[in-house]
Symmetry: C2
Subunit: 376 residues, 2 copies
């Protein structure tokens, strides 16, 4: 089962490293996917993104279906050609942004009807339409089923209803997707913070059968501790021989902790969003480059990095660029941050391969948040 | 005379091509200098700037003296190291931005007193202070004398007074600069649109003796026709064996026409400013990428270019980026535009070398502005 072969080369405790083989190239796991919201990883050229070590990008169905529209991207040869990224792309279903950005008109079992946040125009998203957009029009390599999220905290009946609707939508997504050799479809586990709901969701998703399984409905305000609690059991409920993808996560420490629990794939806007606002992620935690203490700091963010943004420019220069409101500051810090995320996943892959991930995890947690050790 | 050897390898009519040799590298002329206002060519990394073919950048003394301050840049090792550009840098005197951006308190023969447009703080600029900032603190390769501009149109007495003050400031700049082997100082011709004033300015500047000579006071609203009239005689008033620099110019056609009249060096914010606003300069004139006619235009701006921004991305994609307000659109079009300016100067150097500049000039004018032939 699974359109794309997934080969695990090493494990250590729950953590694992391997390769997801796709027709457009290998995805080394654990993998971080920079987010290319509207057909661009914000502020970066595809060459800069690739140099960060990214094997795969995420594209947002909601943004692209509204502008420039999925039909236009299709006429222009698909999303890879449009944004000039020839490696794998995973697209989300559009559901998350419909819920968080648009003006929802109606949600039924059949469809979500909403108004665009751009121009108020009316749109309908169904599981079938989401697959058509993702797999047929945009031509992504990995499509996600449409699902229904619940906010945190949610009562159990509300969480169950959304989980069950997500299963129905998952089955319809699978039927619409059909059998494809060169594209994959991932299902999404829901169930909020309820262990039994997560277990039931995982089991019934596997009955439908997907090429990979995402853990959805986290990073919605439940906090680091409760997310870690769910991650203590959720990955183990999903099949071990298929990639596990934790959606929308997260801070570097969250990613390391999730890898320790068996997660393989991640996406998050944090590195690029932080970068545009002057925050650099480093091995020693986050730095705010706008802070006056960097005004005459001649050292680079990471002199050992392969990334020019991390290695060649001084903190004093970055500080100046942010103080002066220069676009180049946003470019360099976005680039640095996704390179740091790339270096972090590469370091985890090496540590797991060499059987020293437990020590890596402890050391990393100590450096990221002194006094707060990783683990639960 | 001249700190930097200037070797002319070919001429055709008034046009000439050669090399200005500096300790930080060769400047091939005709040369276009991208403007690095506040220590950055806006939106671009130094690697992108260099890939455009630029041999030299311009830095703005006014912006840098206010933020992060020339003293801070000096403590950080100078402007080259600060912005990580190891090739030549020309700095302006600060006078132009003081006049155009700041709140001028007082202008006397001794000094210009002004308030910063950033925070209202009070500053004093003299010819001596400008040289200290440019040559000692920022460490630029080519410094410009402080001069006084007049607006267009100016009455002859007003133009004469500013020209004569500029000469006095030129002499003081030269005295403050002294003798340097590894840095150069350029004088600036003034005189508005008055031929006799321009002649007198040029003659008296040469008595002071500079390493190069700029034509100042143009591109201040006099229009293409009147600028061309001044350029019919102004370059010939300046010594042939030293580089001639036309400040703040300009559109591609203006640059070609100035080269035809004997100008060697140019700077202008136009390519980067246009690029940030969605305008691309091409061999066939300017294009506004926001225009709906590019929405599904799959062709790149210039498939023959060496620049990735010009060659690899479609107009439809650039159109989308500008419609969506994405930073990458500003990056790519700024990069394309300075690469186009770099390609234009390279094409002129080749045409002069091969004795076909006259035809190049005519063809270029016809493509840039159909129906309006170049020449005066």
């Amino acid at each position: 089962m699974g359109a794309f072969p997934f080969t695990l080369s090493a494990t250590e405790g729950g953590a694992r490293t391997g390769v997801l083989h796709t027709p457009r190239g290998e995805i080394r796991t654990p993998a971080f996917m920079p987010v290319g919201t509207a057909g661009t990883v914000k502020a970066l050229t595809v060459d800069q993104v690739r140099s960060s070590g990214a094997d795969i990008l995420l594209g947002n169905t909601y943004h692209l279906m509204l502008r420039p529209t999925a039909e236009r991207i299709s006429r222009l040869g698909g999303l890879h050609r449009f944004m000039r990224w020839e490696r794998p792309i995973l697209t989300d279903s559009g559901g998350f942004q419909v819920m968080s950005l648009s003006d929802i008109a109606k949600v039924t079992d059949e469809a979500v009807t909403f108004k665009s946040h751009l121009d108020g125009s009316r749109h309908v998203l169904t599981p079938e339409r989401s697959i058509e957009i993702q797999s047929d029009l945009l031509g992504s390599d990995i499509a996600m089923q449409l699902d229904e999220l619940v906010e945190y905290p949610a009562e159990e009946p509300r969480a169950r209803a959304a989980m069950e609707r997500s299963l129905r939508w998952g089955a319809r997504s699978k039927a619409a997707f059909g059998q494809r050799d060169r594209q994959a479809l991932f299902g999404i586990q829901q169930g909020s913070t309820f262990h039994p709901l997560r277990a039931e969701s995982a089991e019934r998703l596997q009955e439908i059968g997907f090429d990979g399984y995402a853990i959805g409905g986290l990073a919605v305000g439940e906090g680091h501790g409760r997310m870690a609690e769910v991650l203590d059991y959720a990955p183990g409920q999903l099949p071990a021989d298929r990639p596990r993808y934790l959606m929308g996560v997260g801070k570097p420490l969250d990613i390391v902790e999730a890898v320790a629990r068996g997660v393989d794939m991640f996406d998050c806007v944090l590195p690029t969003r932080s970068g545009r606002h002057g925050q650099a992620w480093t091995w020693d935690g986050p730095l705010n480059l706008r802070n006056a203490r960097f005004a005459e700091d001649d050292s680079p963010l990471d002199e050992a990095s392969d990334c020019a943004a991390s290695r060649d420019y001084s903190k004093a220069y970055l500080h100046h660029l942010f103080r002066a409101g220069e676009i180049l500051g946003q470019v360099l810090l976005s680039w640095h941050n996704i390179s740091f995320y790339g270096a972090l996943t590469a370091a985890m892959r090496a540590a797991i391969t060499e059987g020293r991930f437990a020590r890596f995890r402890g050391d990393f947690a100590e450096r990221q948040a002194p006094g707060r050790r990783g683990g639960s």
